[in-house]
Symmetry: C2
DNA sequence: AAAGGCTAAGTGATTTAGTCACTTTGTGAC
DNA sequence: GTCACAAAGTGACTAAATCACTTAGCCTTT
C-alpha cells in the first residue's frame, strides 16, 4: 500500500507559491492590492482561468481577497500559521461539548501565562472586551472577544491564533452557547473577575477562575436541550 | 470606516457549499470519489472552469484531492475544524521560538489531561511513537508523532487537531529542531519518561516532565546558531 | 464652492468550445 | 494466464469573448 499519495506539485501549486513570492518580495501587507488576474496572466504566460484557480486556493486560506470590480487584495490571515477551516462540518451537541472540552484544557494554562506576561495595552483591550460584551444588542461579530484577547495578552501570537481559530470555526456554536448560558450577566461578571486576576498578575487565580468559568459554561450546555442541527 | 468587508456569498462560495452538501448527503468519506468536473458542470448548469475554481478552494483546505487522469476524491482533512495553513510564511528563529513558546503553554496541560483519560489503545500508539522515533534514518513523515499521539490520548479530537496543526505547519522548523536538539537519544529518553507517567496516570508528573522536555528543547534552539532562512 | 449624477476605464465573474495529458479498464493476442 | 494495447473517462489548460461591478474623474446643477 502506497501510503503517501505525494503527487508532483501541480502548476496551480507552483503558481500560488509564485504569487505569494510576489507578495513577499514587494512586502505587501493585508489590504494591499495585488496585480490583476489579467496582469498576472500576462506575466506568467498563462490564461486567466488558470490564474483564478490559484487565486481561489489562496482565497480559501484567507491569503487573498477578491473585491468584485475593484481588484484582488492581500487578505487578513496571510501570516497566520493555523487556520479555522472555512468548510466546517455541521454542528452537533457533541461537537459543542468537544469544543468546550478543548478550551478547558488550553485556556486555563493560557490565562496563567497571560497573567504573568500581560502589558498595559493588553489590559486596555481586555477592559474593552469586557465592557463591550454588554453593548451590542444584536451586535456584529467584530467586537473584541474576551477569550481571544486573553490569549493575545500572553504575548505569543500563535496562542492568539489557536484560540481565535477554535472560536471562529465554532462561531455558530458560540452564539448558541451565549444564548444558553444565562443572560450574559454572569458571563460578564466572570470575565471581569478573570481580568482582575490578570491585572493583579495572580496567575494561580486567573487559571482557577478561567477553569471555573468554562466549567460553568459546559454545565449550562450539557443541561440544555439542544436545538436541531441545520 | 466600514470595518466588516462582508461581501455577499459569491457563486464560488455557494458552489463549495453545494459540493460539500453532496459529499455529506451521500455520506462520502476520505478517499471516496466525487463526481467529475464535467458531471458537476452539467448538474449545476455551469462550466468547468467555474467548477474547478470551487474545487480548488476545497483542495486548499484538504477537503478534496485531485488525481490527474483519475478523478477528484474526498480529502483527509474534510472533518477537521482547525487547519495548518498550507501557504505558510517563511521560517525565522523567532518563529521557531514562538512555536515552542506556544507548545510550552498548551502541551503540559494536554499531558495532564491525557494522563487521566488515556485508554489502552492510546498507550499502544504512544509506545509505537516512542519506539519508531529511533527507527527511520531519513524516514518519511508518516511516522507517528509522539506529541500528537499524546494529545490524541486525551480523547478529544480537537486537541489532537490543534497539536497536529501546530506541528505540521512548522514541520520544517521541527526538522531543524530535531537536528539541533542533541542526537535524539535524549529526546527518546524524555518521551519515554512522559509515557511512563501517562501510563501510571500520574497527571502531575506528566505535566512536569512535558514542561521540562519543552524547556530543554527551547534552550537548545535558543543557544544554537540558526541556519539561514530559505 | 459644494453636491450630485454621468461616463469611461479597469477589474472580477463567467461562458463557450476546444486540445492535451494522464489513468484506468477491458479486450484480444500470445 | 499474462502482457500489450486501444479506448474511454478524467483532470489540466488554452483561447477569446461577454457581462457585472467598482472607482475615479468630469461635468452639471445647486
Amino acid at each position: 500500500m502506497t501510503y503517501s499519495t505525494a503527487q508532483p506539485p501541480s502548476l496551480s501549486d507552483r503558481l500560488t507559491e509564485a504569487i505569494l513570492g510576489i507578495i513577499r518580495d514587494q512586502d505587501l501587507g493585508p489590504g494591499d492590492a495585488i496585480p490583476s488576474a489579467r496582469e498576472l496572466a500576462k506575466r506568467f504566460e498563462l490564461t486567466t482561468p488558470t490564474i483564478r484557480e490559484a487565486l481561489r486556493k489562496l482565497e480559501a486560506t484567507g491569503a487573498v481577497e477578491f473585491r468584485h470590480g475593484s481588484g484582488t487584495y492581500v487578505g487578513p490571515t496571510i501570516n497566520n500559521v493555523v487556520l479555522a477551516n472555512p468548510h466546517r462540518p455541521p454542528i452537533t451537541k457533541q461537537s459543542v461539548l468537544q469544543l468546550i472540552g478543548a478550551r478547558l484544557v488550553i485556556e486555563p494554562a493560557v490565562a496563567r501565562e497571560s497573567a504573568l506576561s500581560r502589558g498595559e495595552q493588553n489590559l486596555e483591550r481586555l477592559e474593552a472586551a469586557v465592557t463591550n460584551a454588554l453593548v451590542p444588542p444584536g451586535g456584529p461579530a467584530f467586537a473584541l472577544n474576551f477569550h481571544v484577547e486573553l490569549a493575545a495578552a500572553s504575548g505569543n501570537p500563535l496562542l492568539e491564533e489557536v484560540l481565535a481559530s477554535l472560536l471562529k470555526v465554532r462561531l455558530r456554536e458560540q452564539q448558541q452557547i451565549r444564548q444558553l448560558y444565562d443572560n450574559r450577566e454572569r458571563d460578564h461578571e466572570e470575565h471581569r473577575a478573570i481580568l482582575d486576576a490578570v491585572r493583579a498578575q495572580d496567575a494561580e487565580e486567573a487559571e482557577r477562575l478561567t477553569r471555573e468559568h468554562l466549567d460553568n459554561i459546559r454545565a449550562a450546555v450539557d443541561a440544555a436541550d439542544f436545538p436541531e442541527l441545520s
